[in-house]
Every structure is written in C-alpha cells, then in structure tokens.
Amino acid sequence: MGEFGIITQVLVNGILFGTMYGIAAIGLSLIFGTMRIIFFAQGVIIIFFAYICYWLFTLLGIDPYLSLILIIPISLLLGMGFYYGLFKEAAALEQREVSLLIAIGLLWLVENAMMVVWTPNPRTIVTAYTSWVLELGGLIISFTRLIALLIALLSAVGVFVFLKRTRIGTAVRAASEDMESTTLMGINPNWVNAVTFALGIGLAGTAGVAFATVYSFDPMYGFTFVIMSVIALAFGGFGNVFGALLGGIILGVLQSGASFFVSAGWADAICFGTFLLVLMFRPQGLFGKKV
C-alpha cells in the first residue's frame, strides 16, 4: 500500500469515526433547538446504551444489531421520561443554567454508576462478524464500521424526514425558531420538548449500539464523546441535522488526520483549537448562513 493508500485509509477511518460524533451531535442539536441547553449527558447515555447492548449480548446472547429493536423504544421512552421527570419544571422556569446543571448532574450520576456496575475496564463486543473485512481497491473497511456508517446515515435521514414530513416534526422545527410564538399557536411546549428529548436519547441509543459493535468503550469515554459532539455541533452549526452529521465527519477526519500526521497527543489540542477558531469567527457553523 503506497503513501496515497495510507492517506485514503486515514481519511476513511476519520469519516467512519466521525459519523459517531455526528449522530450524537444531531441529538444535541435537537435538544439545543428547543431547550436551548447543551445536553452534557448525551455522551454517557451513549456509552450507557453501549453497555446495555453489551449485556444483552453477553448475558442473553442477543445479537447487537437485533438488540436495536429493543434499545430504540427503550431509549425513546427514557428520553421522554428524562424530560417529564427532570427537565419539565426547569424548562418552565426559563432559567437555563438549572437545566444545564441537571444535565451535568445526570452526566456525573450515570458515569459513576457505570463505573460501579461495569468497572472502569474497557469492554468490547466480539461477534462472529467483528473480524469481517471488506477490501475496496486497496482500502480495508471492517464490516461493523460500514454498518455503523449505515446506521448513522439512516438515523440522520429518519430524523430529517420526521422533522420535515410530520406535524409534530413541524412543531419541533417551529419551536426551535421561536418557542413563544409556537406556544401561542396552540402547541404544547412540554410535548415538543418531550419529543425532542425522546429523539435525542433515541439517537443516543442507536449510536450506542453502533459504537459498541465497532470500538471498545469505558465509562470515562462518555465525557470525551460529548465534548467531541459539541465540537461537531459547532462545526456544523447549531440546529441543522445534516450540518451536525457533516460537522462530525469533518471532526473525525481532522482528528484522525492530526493524529496520523502530527501525533496522537496533539490531535486533541488541534481539534479544540480549531473549535475555538470556528466558534469565534463562524459561530453559525461552517455551512450556516450568516444571521
């Protein structure tokens, strides 16, 4: 494999990993749209569902991809539960730091609970098809990564269609533009918020399964994950489904490129630096229109 082949491989790995950030960023973007908070617990929820997937696989022998049938409804319900149980009062208060701190508390709680239940040791799911590899013109892509990419793209399209084609999706979009006017139009703000939370956590569940099948994970990774998703969100522009996905892919490519060409230790600094620059000079995101 020549120089060109290596670079392409780095690029492809970046894109595949970046879709994980992207799918988490879509969830963050939805919740940010209506609640106006960064849901900091998103990353640990993803890892939590990765562990659920791991348990379903090791204890009950359920295939990870099959477990999606179970995990998606659970995560949707959990999202709705989060809203009605934790955020409803805070959303009505219009004090966003309260919601923000609840999210941080949730991050703390879930992360440490996972440390106790599953120990800080990294876990991986090894199935019969984990080692399957596809070779496309010199590129090596594992089967699970390709499926993860497919899952990410499908869920992005799913969310997009939901937002564009359904009545409640329209309500969610309206609420992200202007919550007050939307409420005046007779739309229940609690229902809209609950739906976005359900979607966001639902995406976290899907991302958790996709992530668990490809990469190894530990409880501490959730925080890194959410930070990276926030960066992806800033790249793509807040409140834009495909922007968030694309932002994730750009971040993935940046990260894998930086760790290959510079060094793994500096990759994070490069990502954060780029993130600060984007936040300063293009707060609307790389593809957003100037307001």
């Binding site: 730091e97 609840i102 508390g105 440390m115 800033a234 300063m280």
Partner: protein
C-alpha cells in the same frame, strides 16, 4: 474616543469600587465577627496536624475561594464559565514553576509574592481569552468556548515537554513541610479575602452593573453599562481567586500534575456549591461549600466507591426541587405564608 474611555477606565474602576451601601444592621456584623472568631480559635483547641476536622475546614476554605470566584462570574454577571479548574490548575502550576525554576528569588514556600503571581497569571489568561470570547459569544456559546479553552490548556500542559514535565508533573521539595497550621491560617485568610472581595464588588456600582448584565444585557448596554469591560472584569476576578486557591493547594500537594490540579472536580464542586447554597448571594457558596465538602468527605470515608453517584443524584435533586438553593428556600417558605 475608545482610547479616551480606556484611559479613564482604571480610575472609573477604582471609583466604582467604593461601596454605595454597606449593611448597617449590627446583627449581621456581630454574626460575621463571631463566625470569624470561631474559625480563628479552632487551631487553639484542636491539633491541626492530626485532626481530620481541620483538614476538612482547610478543604472548605479552598472551595469557598474558588466558589466565590465562580459566584462573581456566573452568579452575579450571569456568564457560565466552565474553566475555573483551568485557572485553579494554572495557579498551582505557576507556583510550582516559579519555585522549581527559581524565578523570583524569594522564599517560595508560602511566599505572598508567589501567591499573588499565581493569581495574576490566570488573570492574564482570563483577559486574553475573555475579550474575544465574551465579546463574540453569549450564554451557552460562552460556556462551550470556555470548555474548549479548558481542554486546550490541559493538552498544552500535558504536551509541555521538559518545561511542564507532562503527565508526571512537577515535584516540589516537600522537605519544607512542617505542619498543617500555616495551611489552615492561609486558607482562612484567603477565604475571608474572597468573601470580602465579592462583598465589596456586589455592594458597589460594579455589582449593580454585573447584575444588570445578568438580567438583560441589551437593556444594560442601552443604559450606558460597558458590557464587555464588566464581563471581563468579573471573569478576571473569578480567575484570580481560583488561581490563588490553586497556589495554596500546590503548597499542600507538593506534586502538581494535570490529573490532580486540572481535575474536573475543581470545576464541578465549586459550581455545585454555588447553586446548592444559592447562586448570586454571598452566604450561599459558603453554606454550599461546608455542606458539600462534609458530604463528600463523609462519602469518601464510608462509601469510597459509590459516593460520586450520590453527588450526581444530589445535583439533580437540588436543581429539580429547589433551583434557588438553600438560601432561596428561606424566601420560598416566607413567600408561601
């Protein structure tokens, strides 16, 4: 015109530090004096070196200093800063680096010059990053931006090579350690200083301006409040207090590495103390610090593994059921009648 205003700025700042209204209620002054005297006499009654209680109080003082700093930025000015731990760590690192590289040629151990410098280095960082961040980013974007700053600084220190000595960090000569007593006194003094700083800021024109910015930035600007100057000022005060606390902690730790002094606990705990006690009040963070430090000390002794779970649960419960904190609880009970 802008230069003219900037030239007058230091003078205006000093003038505005004069409190407009100092509480005249003698009861509060008596209570405050009694509490200070009580803390000051603790070393005469218990042995500071062996008692866990004295260590607990030392920890409380540290947290009060950082929490009061965050209180100014977030509680009064309404700018949620998520890089207080960076300022704390930077203060600790400044102390360590000055000591190791023999910069100021003074005594180093509990040296006021070093401690003030450790406060000023974070202030410089706060001003450098504060001006672009605060002028361009509002609300959540600012919080995210400070988070980005935090991670960048941590990585820079980790990758600092021979200068910062990477993940292993700095080893200070711990032979100078004699007893815990100076730590207790310095902690108490600095905590009093932090409370006094916040008290004077909030009772002056600056405090009024900060609260105006928190309530409605546009309205404050239209009344002639220079929003950016005040925000940067609040951010710098928070950085200074966190840096000084970091310096004190560096003297206690003697081994400074990113994992210990830049840990996220130095960010979350002070925030939690502020909101638990009552954000945007002076006594709130103090009550929060004593309460939470007690809970976490108790937890780490009796439930070493599971106690962070309860801290997380506590944040959620407090924010869910009493978002205005312990101080706000009093108002809520009174208003219910």
């Amino acid at each position: 015109m802008k230069e003219e205003r900037l030239a007058k700025y230091p003078f205006n700042l000093l003038k505005s530090l004069i409190p407009t209204k100092i509480t005249r209620n003698p009861i509060y002054i008596i209570i405050a004096v009694l509490i200070i005297v009580a803390f000051a006499t603790v070393p005469f009654f218990i042995d500071v070196d062996t008692s866990y209680f004295a260590y607990y109080l030392f920890l409380c003082f540290l947290y009060i200093i950082i929490a009061q700093g965050w209180n100014v930025v977030a509680g009064y000015a309404g700018q949620i800063s998520l890089c207080q731990n960076t300022f704390f760590g930077l203060g600790a690192y400044t102390t360590g680096l000055i000591w190791l590289y023999d910069v100021t040629k003074t005594g180093y151990y509990f040296d006021p010059v070093v401690m003030v410098l450790s406060g000023l280095v974070p202030v410089i960082l706060a001003i450098i990053i504060g001006i672009p961040l605060l002028s361009r980013l509002r609300g959540d974007y600012f919080a995210i931006g400070t988070l980005g700053v935090q991670f960048t600084v941590t990585v820079l220190i980790l990758r600092g090579g021979a200068f910062t000595r990477g993940a292993d960090g700095l080893h200070l000569p711990s032979v100078v350690f004699e007893s815990m007593t100076p730590y207790y006194w310095t902690g108490l003094l600095l905590a009093l200083f932090a409370v006094a700083v916040v008290y004077f800021i909030t009772r002056s024109r600056i405090g009024l301006a900060l609260r105006a910015i928190r309530e409605d930035e546009t309205a404050a600007a239209s009344r002639g409040v220079h929003v950016l100057q005040y925000k940067v000022f609040a951010f710098a005060v928070g950085a200074f207090l966190a840096g000084i606390a970091g310096s004190l902690f560096a003297y206690y730790l003697f081994h400074i590495n990113p994992d210990s002094v830049m840990h996220l606990n130095w960010l979350f705990f002070p925030i939690l103390m502020c909101v638990l006690g009552g954000n945007g009040t002076i006594t709130g963070p103090i009550i929060g610090a004593f309460f939470l430090a007690a809970l976490s000390s108790f937890g780490s002794v009796y439930f070493p593994q599971t106690h962070p779970i309860f801290s997380g649960l506590l944040v959620i419960l407090v924010m869910r059921f009493m978002p205005t904190g312990i101080i706000g609880l009093k108002d809520r009970i009174l208003s219910r009648r």
